[in-house]
Symmetry: D2
Subunit: 407 residues, 4 copies
């Protein structure tokens, strides 16, 4: 076994990452463990974290506020791309891993750590996303993933170990949904959700909002302003990205917006079922798409749909820090030059109903759409257009006819 003197651990304060601290010290011969907790908007869980980490055996805890960077450098580029994984998942967990991985490397280098540890299981996507980020910035840095090798077979094993090592946790032996939360979303996996034949018990599960049935009977209107594809104001009030998403999470959550219940394909192809709450994100994606329908020309809009599919795969797979992701972003940014304007939506019991869209760059023109004869569009042109557009069909049919090859 490799020897490490100083290990940096991605730390949340939950059971898994808590027991990793003593486990590392045992397995790496009393190595020093430094912990890092990233604040990506998961809220409330950061209080008292320093004490807990120290009490568990860490020599130091970094709490890194990554919210602004998370929104501007990860969420908004993905929103601009319109990237949705498998037509439903807004990638909330996926792009939170690279930013944390990148900061881990920065701190590990600063602290002179000789390894980085994380608490991801060996069956999921997150281990891949973390480790790819580490490889991108510290290609030779050893990575420790205790879940893939340790002796614990169950949550109970972990709890026993925690108790034996006096880890200061509010531990319960009840099983819970497995969750991942940040500014953008909250995911739920496990328990009854593991069978796709089961309808989710939304009223027990949901935390960021309510189900459509519990939402108010009265609709809420919201107007979002975008500048070059980036949301910059709500109902006329300019806001930084973090505040804007928080506000939309509240509005969306209250109105039952942004629930997704999906069986998704993990990176390695294994299917997994999850329920996602992305109230603000769902609103932003919808509004951005509506705005694009009037600001992008047809060819760009259609081709961008393909780019979005690839972008989503790349983000889901944790390949954020790659030349391809950067090149795709260059494409996307070029298309967003004119994606500026206002989108008004009516939020009502899970529905986002378009209530008006305007843009100084709109390519929709009532004047042109209903023009008369001497204007932009001469209806006589249509005959010529159709004749040439249909030429391959006609030529094939004619030749088939001549040769008796008609099917």
């Amino acid at each position: 076994m490799a020897k490490f003197k100083k290990v940096l651990l991605a730390y949340s304060g939950g059971l898994d990452t808590s027991i990793i601290i003593p486990w590392l010290k045992e397995h790496y011969d009393g190595c020093e463990v430094i912990a890092m907790a990233a604040d990506v908007g998961q809220e409330a869980e950061l209080e008292g974290l320093n004490e807990k980490a120290i009490a568990t055996g860490a020599s130091k805890l970094y709490i890194e506020d990554l919210q602004k960077e998370f929104v501007e450098d990860y969420i908004f580029p993905t929103l601009k791309a319109g990237a949705v994984y498998e037509n439903k998942y807004l990638l909330g967990t996926s792009f939170a891993r690279p930013i944390i991985g990148k900061r881990l490397v920065e701190i590990a280098k600063k602290e002179g750590c000789d390894a980085i540890a994380h608490g991801c299981t060996g069956k999921g996507n997150d281990q891949v996303r973390f480790e790819l980020a580490v490889k991108a910035f510290a290609p030779n840095m050893p990575i420790i993933a205790p879940w893939r090798t340790w002796e614990f077979k169950s949550r109970d094993d972990e709890i026993d170990y925690a108790i034996a090592h006096n880890i200061p946790l509010k531990i319960t032996r009840e099983t819970n949904y497995s969750k991942d939360k940040n500014l953008w979303h909250l995911s739920h996996e496990g328990l009854d959700l593991e069978d796709p034949a089961n309808e989710p018990k939304y009223d027990e599960i949901l935390e960021m909002g309510v189900s459509p049935e519990k939402a108010p009977d009265k609709a809420t209107y919201v107007t979002i302003h975008f500048e070059k594809g980036i949301p910059t104001a709500l109902d006329g009030v300019e806001m930084d990205g973090v505040s804007l998403i928080k506000k939309l999470n509240k509005l969306g959550g209250e109105n039952g917006i942004g629930l997704a219940d999906i069986v998704e394909n993990r990176l390695v192809g294994m299917k997994s079922r999850g329920v996602y709450e992305t109230p603000g994100g769902a609103i932003l994606y919808h509004a951005h798409e509506v705005l694009e329908t009037i600001c992008l020309d047809k060819e760009t809009q259609h081709y961008k749909q393909q780019i979005a599919l690839k972008f989503a795969d790349i983000v889901y797979n944790g390949q954020w820090f790659t030349p391809l992701r950067e090149a795709l972003s260059a494409f996307v940014d070029a298309t967003q030059e004119t994606v500026t304007g206002d989108v008004k939506l009516k939020l009502y019991k899970g529905n986002m109903i378009n209530a008006g869209v305007t843009s100084p760059y709109t390519l929709y023109s009532e004047e042109f759409a209903s023009f008369g004869e001497d204007d932009v569009y001469d209806q006589n042109d249509s005959a010529g257009f159709i004749n040439l557009f249909g030429l391959p069909i006609k030529v094939k049919a004619l030749l088939d006819e001549q040769r008796g090859q008609n099917k």
Copy 2:
């Protein structure tokens, strides 16, 4: 001007196609006009049509019931492809044109007509779709499109002409939304909808159902059974496609399902705003997609998303009868071999909430998803996987580091 003796007209009985009958006879020197009305599920408008056509000057009216063929040969292949135009439009008008065009040719040949006429305007997609279908089956058949050439500048001009020619219409000079209805959908264009800044007045517009706000407070559950991608039963009752769609239209419409308000790009790139009601179609697309998430493997599912984009363009453009559409369908059909199973949905005020999906071919396995160590998935494999999956990132980072090329 060309001379025609016998013209076949695609006839609906509305103002436009009604005045075309006398107009054709005037312009083509007393030519005979035969009319054909296609029943693609638009309902109720076919009664008394024969009398009206004869009274207007047609020598004969064909009423062709195309509903079954429409569902089986056009709607279901498109549903299986998962083709959605610009992420929202379920192609209701698009694939109704080719089937009518094909039948027009059949009747024109049987009747010995020397031209085919239609009542589409010169600014829209439908003229293209009709004419491409005609070209595919009768490449030399002349096509008459009076809208592109005649003298009428407005609806009032048309009405004056109708009155002058004693056309038996219930004519009002009120302006209406422009609509297109069939078994699959109902579209609305025009009036206040022409400005995308306006919220649609759903309570005035909707005909196939109600808005989410008018839908009942109690949810409705429905279970759809698919065989190889085709819906064959509802709540355990086997049904032919036409009946199944009608039933789902009712259930969906009542629950505010399937509204789309979009600014779409017409074939030639001009933007156009429409509101679509597709209650049954929206349910079928959603259910089919959910079923695919458990029946298709990841690579097939992802690549099929790209195929669906192209399929949608092809259908929207009226290129149904082309080698490419047929080849895309061959791809799609191959993927549907295992898309068999049941999807339960909860319909509630515009929402389709997954309430359970099962399939004898499911690739989701709770057993595999949560397996222990000696089973299908060995967590240790992950380390190797990640190392090789991340190899390009690592190699690039290492080489950059060696060369001082880090950004």
Copy 3:
């Protein structure tokens, strides 16, 4: 008929554009005709052009040297994209039209012309490419395309008209291949080439070089240096783009490089047969592609192949001045950051044989490719990789087995 006072004509001095001058003056009531000839490297044809244009009736001739701009803003972006139309055609004519169209608008505006005329036939691609460029910069500028409307039915008709109007041409009534030449290529169409069953008579046709059979028995080596995807030096000598292409045309032509004989699909789908000489271009494309194989990572390289297909269509269709072309170029440029290095090729009787490639950014590493166990690549990782990469196949096979669903 519209009235124009001052028309700008895209002029080459050949028969077609020469007779257009008097024809315009006759048809537009003595309008003034200004001619513009673009120098895009077609060579030798520009001498005496001014006298000829004036003698033919033009009031002025602009000769615009566009070579540098052509290379830097059109050829190199397309080269960097690796865009090849239908796997063979290097787009020589396609991207020469937008640059000319753009300059036409600039001069038309400066001169206060009220229309722009060109000599393209009504069956080809070039009319589209010219007119799209004009629309992009002068959307309301009327365009005159005499070929689509005039009375001449044959080359003889044109010659008769030329003689009758004392047009100073060396006219022969012999029929010739239709050609288009510029710095990048020379195309041949017509005569015996119109039947794809005929082998081209290369020894009669070729002008920029010789056939492989006529090339020297001794090979020629050439080394091309690229900076960020752009060729900047030949055999160690730095050169501007124009000089570099001219030099490569000579070397390539002498060695029988860069011939393409293709049946291509025109924009409207009609098939057309042409022979292309692109000696320097073929070398540059090949060299650039070889360099990319060591400078781009796999994912970028593969996705760029798709981008190249679209880029080629866009360029072929004359859609150069569109948001989509610009966004595609943004993607491409992002990928070229590291495409710097040297490619040595052996030119021999039509073959381009790789003779060595190097780059300071190479991702190929002999050290890594043949590494031992303790290095970058641990062979044990492969087992894990394969198990997870093959997981979908295994799970499907297992489930099929359990259910007796094996095919």
Copy 4:
């Protein structure tokens, strides 16, 4: 370590697979080893193989003639797809692995083997391709890959082991290129080729043919007939696929056809340099592509280019037995219905020069291509076509102008 009683080994008779026999018996406690050699057209290496295998310790040798199946079920489907990996590699090794893997499973099941072993190294693609094929047909079958785990560090170690175990090989300690040969191709890797800066020493390397420089001064003509995309006759003589490829290998090899020298990306992204000889394959790909240019309509031809990219990746990655490969083949087969005809090529010192193509389904029509005015194509239609095709450009330019948004 797992215990196996009877192991089936993919056996070639070379050093690697020969020493695996005693190694397996030593490591698995005297297990029985059955060997299988697949004849995929590698020629001459199969003589005396039975004696050698038995002498080396195998209890039995299967020699399986897979040539016909290889051609019909693997090579031709890939040829029809036009699949080329990274624009150069004709996949010769890639699709030879699945067919062998499939037969291995068949024999392993018949013999009651409890494991399958192969001699692929842990750094390459072939281990993946073999194992994916095994997983597809025997998902629970253990796979032994000694290269990934054994103690030998070098070829010398292997030779020492072979001598110590009396393995009857003509062993030399000279290092050689690493080769893979079958009916379709011969690949070369290693030695001086490992540095992409080195020009290949073709005159030392080549076995299936000669370099262009050594090819005869006189060209050879060959005419290939295809039926639905499949080559069925040569110079008018009908032939089965195996014979046809052998004949073309001879003709192509003699004329210096089909050499590729590439740095390719292995499945896991590591770059690797190889020289490939595919003389017959290169001719077939070229001829098939030429035939498609006259038999496929534009839209099908263009979209098929994208399908080909994906098909190539799938084959390269060893994912032959997957639903996606099958669905892609369904697409391809649908396009090949009309790909019937004759292609004449002139083979000359590495060049394949088109010498005429004909098809009863050709969509090229000299009559249409040069038609007059009253025929299929009315030149006046072009104006209308261009106006509508260019509408988005015009509208954008007009609106930009109105708003002063011109760039």
